[in-house]
C-alpha cells in the first residue's frame, strides 16, 4: 500500500486517480461523522478520514507524517476516543435534534459562506502556480531531512513541545484523579440507609425487567400491581438508545387470555 502510494504520488495521472477516488470518500466520511447518531460510528468514520489523510500525506512525499498519522493518530488517539466513549456510555446527548433555536441555520449559513470564501481565496492564490515538489528537499530521504530540520532549526520548539507533553500528561492525571471527600459507605451503612430511608420501595432491590409469565426480555419494563410500567426496571442505556418495548400491551385485561383455555 505504501509503495503503491509513493509510486502513485510520483506520477501525474495515478495521483489524480488516487485523489479523485479518495477525496469524495473522505468528504463523505467527514459528513457522515456529522450526521450519524451514535458516537461510536462517528469515531469509526473519523478513523477512516484519518487513514485517508495519511495516504494523502504519503502521496505528497510526506512519508514520515503519513506513518505518524496512522500509528499515533489513528492508532493511539482514536483508540483513546473510543475508550472514553466506552467509559462515558450512551445518553441523550447523542440525539440529533437541535435544542437551541436558530443555531443550526446560522451555523450552516456561516459555514457555507466560510467554506465558499476559503475555496475562492485558495483558487485566487494558487492560480498559475506550479508545485515545486519535494524531490530535492527529500534528497536524503524524508525522515532524515525532517530530522535534520527538527534537531537544528526547530530544536528549541521541539524541546518546548516535550515540556508541553509532560505538562499535558500531568494535567490529565490531575484532572482524572478522583479524590474521595467522604468515606466509602460500609455494607452496614448501606443496609441501614436502605431500610431506614424515607421509603421502603427499594428495600428489596430494583424490580427486574420483563412481564412475568408473558414476556421476560430485558427490554420490557415490568408491570407494577396497578398495571403501570415500572420505569426503573429497565437499564438506562437501553432507554437512552430507544431500544425499549412498550409493556402496556401486556397489561392485565388488555391481553387476550382465552388462547390457553382453548387448548
Amino acid at each position: 500500500m505504501i509503495n503503491l502510494a509513493i509510486s502513485v504520488g510520483q506520477t501525474q495521472t495515478p495521483e489524480a486517480f488516487l485523489f479523485w477516488f479518495l477525496a469524495p470518500l473522505t468528504v463523505a466520511a467527514a459528513l457522515g461523522m456529522l450526521l450519524v447518531k451514535k458516537a461510536v460510528h462517528s469515531a469509526i468514520l473519523m478513523a477512516s478520514v484519518m487513514i485517508n489523510l495519511a495516504i494523502f500525506y504519503i502521496a505528497q512525499d510526506a512519508l514520515f507524517l503519513g506513518i505518524v498519522q496512522i500509528v499515533v493518530y489513528t492508532g493511539a488517539v482514536m483508540m483513546l476516543f473510543l475508550f472514553i466513549l466506552m467509559l462515558v456510555g450512551v445518553d441523550s446527548s447523542d440525539s440529533l435534534t437541535e435544542t437551541i433555536a436558530g443555531l443550526r441555520p446560522i451555523a450552516i449559513t456561516a459555514a457555507v459562506g466560510f467554506g465558499g470564501l476559503l475555496v475562492s481565496l485558495i483558487g485566487r492564490a494558487s492560480i498559475g502556480r506550479d508545485a515545486v515538489g519535494l524531490e530535492s528537499a527529500n534528497a536524503g530521504g524524508n525522515v532524515k531531512e525532517l530530522a535534520k530540520l527538527l534537531f537544528s532549526t526547530y530544536v528549541w520548539p521541539f524541546e518546548v513541545v516535550s515540556a508541553l507533553l509532560i505538562t499535558a500528561a500531568l494535567g490529565a492525571m490531575v484532572l482524572a484523579h478522583h479524590q474521595r471527600i467522604q468515606l466509602r459507605p460500609t455494607q452496614r451503612q448501606l443496609s441501614t440507609e436502605r431500610f431506614r430511608g424515607s421509603s421502603l420501595a427499594n428495600a428489596a432491590g430494583l424490580p427486574g425487567p420483563g412481564v412475568f409469565a408473558r414476556h421476560n426480555a430485558v427490554d420490557v419494563p415490568a408491570l407494577l400491581p396497578d398495571g403501570t410500567p415500572a420505569a426503573n426496571s429497565i437499564n438506562a442505556t437501553l432507554e437512552a438508545r430507544g431500544d425499549m418495548l412498550n409493556s402496556g400491551v401486556f397489561e392485565l385485561g388488555k391481553v387476550d387470555t382465552s388462547a390457553g383455555e382453548e387448548a
Partner: protein, 99 residues
C-alpha cells in the same frame, strides 16, 4: 495534477469540522470534530510544503500533531471529569455560566 486540489479538500474538511463543533451535542463528537479541523490544517501544511519545495510545512504539521495529542489527553480528561460530576457528556448541560 494541481496540488491546489488538496487545499480545496482541506478547506472543505475544515468547514465540515467547524459545523460539527456547532451542531453536535456529544462532547466527544465535538472533540472529534475539532480533531478533524486540525487534520484539515495539517493537510494544508503538507500541501504547502510540497508547493514550496521545502520541509518546513511538514515540520509544522508534525508539531501540530504533538500539540493535538496533548490537547486530546487534556480534553478527554476534562470530559471525564465533567461526566463524573454531571453524569452527562452533553456540552449543553455544562451551561452554568449563564446562571
Amino acid at each position: 495534477m494541481d496540488a491546489a486540489n488538496y487545499l480545496y479538500l482541506s478547506a472543505l474538511l475544515f468547514t465540515i469540522g467547524a459545523v460539527g463543533v456547532v451542531v453536535r451535542r456529544n462532547a466527544i463528537v465535538v472533540f472529534m470534530c475539532v480533531e478533524l479541523m486540525l487534520n484539515a490544517a495539517n493537510l494544508a501544511f503538507v500541501t504547502f510544503s510540497r508547493i514550496n519545495g521545502d520541509l518546513n510545512g511538514q515540520v509544522i504539521a508534525f508539531f501540530t500533531m504533538v500539540v493535538a495529542a496533548c490537547e486530546v489527553v487534556v480534553g478527554l480528561a476534562i470530559i471525564v471529569t465533567i461526566y463524573r460530576s454531571r453524569r452527562s457528556a452533553s456540552v449543553d448541560d455544562a451551561s452554568l455560566l449563564k446562571r
